[in-house]
Amino acid sequence: MTASPPRIPLSFVGKRLLYGMMTVFAIAVINFFLLQLAPGDAAEALAGEAGTASPEYIAELRAQFGLDQPLMLQLWAFVSRLFTLDLGYSFRYGADVADLIFARLPATLLLMTTSVVFAVIGGIVLGVTAARFANRLPDRLISFTGLLFYATPPFWIGLMMILVFSVWFGWVPTSGMENVLAFNTGWARAVDIGHHLILPALTQAFFYLAIYIRLVRAGMLDVLSLEFIRVARAKGISEARIGYRHALRSAVMPLVTVVGTNVGGFLGGAVLTETVFSWPGVGRLMFDAMFQRDLNLLLSILILSSVFVVVTNFVVDILYVLINPTVELK
């Protein structure tokens, strides 16, 4: 691989960036109208239902949102607040909403990345195996297992794994992100967190594992029927090498895009996984916000998560061009 990486024209990046900004703006608009559906005015909905907000705070919110102004000006106030990352204050937590969310982000990112890695590696290994034994027993077993994973409620898999691996076997802890009483530092702490991470990451990975197995299998079957694979076979290259080195490279291409589009799904799933495993991330924060009817915090998490998806899609777009130079830039 001596070929130099393809140059990405700045106009392409600029267009994508502009598109991303417009998406974020539109998401803010959607959220604004969602808020209009709530009973009472927006200030009551945002603060009142939290139950702890003072009348002064509600009055301040009203002024901030310009609720006495026409709808379009209200929308403008709402959106400009978001773009300056001024997400308001949570009385429940006694902290700025933006700070709350960003403090929880690392835990969620760690969980998400690990489960994406689990799902992708599992999907590739099982998908390639299924394709190599297409329509024979290993393929049928793998495909059926995939279907089972796809049809199982993820939170239930999590609970069942806690039952088996924590309660019965005692291999892994039942919940939390680390043993805070152990006051671990450095490597000991990393190992401890990894130990806590296994079950939640697996729980999140199973559903996507099912999708990726199907995708890799189908992609491999398409590629394996192509001319260059026959040439490779004729040259006497082993089946395993053909599978993993020659075919996989082309078959895995669509996976990159799909993983990118699944980021939103992983974030949504985090609400369940983090609740089941008491994982101190954004998903768990969302559950608490819902439980305490802190609508402002809830909406802020939804908006920031959507922005996160937009950013990841932007990165994936660029990444896709880098790994697949034949793609046409628009």
Binding site: I30, L147, Y150, P153, P154, W156, L295
Partner: protein, 284 residues
């Protein structure tokens, strides 16, 4: 027509996984229909001592939960909610998704651009989080759960329908309809839609399964209708007894798994049935 049905049945017989799916699905439907006949008491009623394992207490075949409620009754009544929410939300999503997709695919141009940008937008927002926020704003009830799940399900349908319409629109018979002076609406919904329906049917089956799983997730978290017992509620309430009475969460979980599996098997079967070309390629 009968010929088509007969051929369908014969193909279903060949495809045993689809038959299994249909069988399971009929079982769930039967449970939903007979719930109030077999269990005249509300599933919220205490019928015996708490935490009875399946078979331990005569009055409750599947045991009782921490409050002495009949788990079997919960499973039967829960089947109603799962099917109702799954089918109703996808039905709503179908109406909306087909409309958006049809207009975008048929007219193309700026109509397509605008409608598809909106659709992509809804796909950008994390589905499950959006469902939670919709329930938070509208309030927790069966109707609002259906609305929330419809809101997150329609984009997939819209994109599929749009693709089919774009292809079918180019066919000669549609051009013929245009030349005949048929109205756009009539061409879209009488002429094109029937030919685009097979993909939509397959996708709807899978989406119903997803909607049922999402409903269970919402009620598991405690964001479901507080007045009805669903499989997700049962799992959520049984969490506290995970160590000593794991059957409480295992049974409704299996019910969910089998229902979603059944719908997926039927979806796969329908796909083979309605796209014979694909089936040949797969076999070859």
């Amino acid at each position: 027509m009968t010929g088509r049905v007969f051929r369908g049945l014969r193909a279903a017989g060949r495809n045993w996984t689809m038959s299994l799916g249909l069988l399971l699905l009929s079982g769930v439907a039967l449970m939903a229909l007979t719930a109030s006949l077999l269990f005249p008491l509300s599933p919220y009623d205490m019928i015996g001592p708490p935490l009875q394992w399946p078979g331990q207490f005569d009055g409750a075949v599947l045991g009782t939960d921490a409050l002495g409620r009949d788990i079997a009754a919960g499973i039967f009544y829960g089947a109603r909610i799962s099917l109702l929410v799954g089918f109703a939300s996808v039905a709503c999503a179908l109406v909306f998704g087909v409309l958006i997709g049809a207009f975008a695919g048929y007219y193309g141009g700026w109509v397509d651009t605008v409608l598809m940008r909106v659709t992509e937008l809804f796909q950008t927002i994390p589905q499950f989080m959006l469902a939670i926020v919709v329930v938070a704003i509208l309030g927790a009830s069966i109707g609002n759960t259906i609305v929330a799940l419809a809101v997150v399900s329609w984009p997939a349908i819209a994109r599929l329908v749009r693709g089919e319409f774009m292809v079918i629109r180019q066919r000669a018979y549609v051009q013929g309809c245009i030349v005949l002076g048929m109205s756009d609406l009539r061409i879209m919904f009488v002429q094109i839609l029937p030919n685009a329906i097979s993909g939509v049917t397959v996708m709807s089956t899978i989406l119903i399964a997803t909607a049922i799983l999402m409903e269970s997730a919402l009620s598991f978290l405690g964001f479901g209708d507080p007045n009805v017992i669903t499989w997700g509620t049962m799992i959520g309430m049984g969490r506290g007894n995970l160590r000593d009475a794991w059957y409480i969460i295992t049974i409704p979980g299996l019910a969910l798994l089998l229902t979603a599996l059944a719908l997926n098997l039927v979806g796969d079967g329908l796909n083979d049935l309605l796209n014979p070309r694909l089936r040949k390629r797969k076999a070859g």
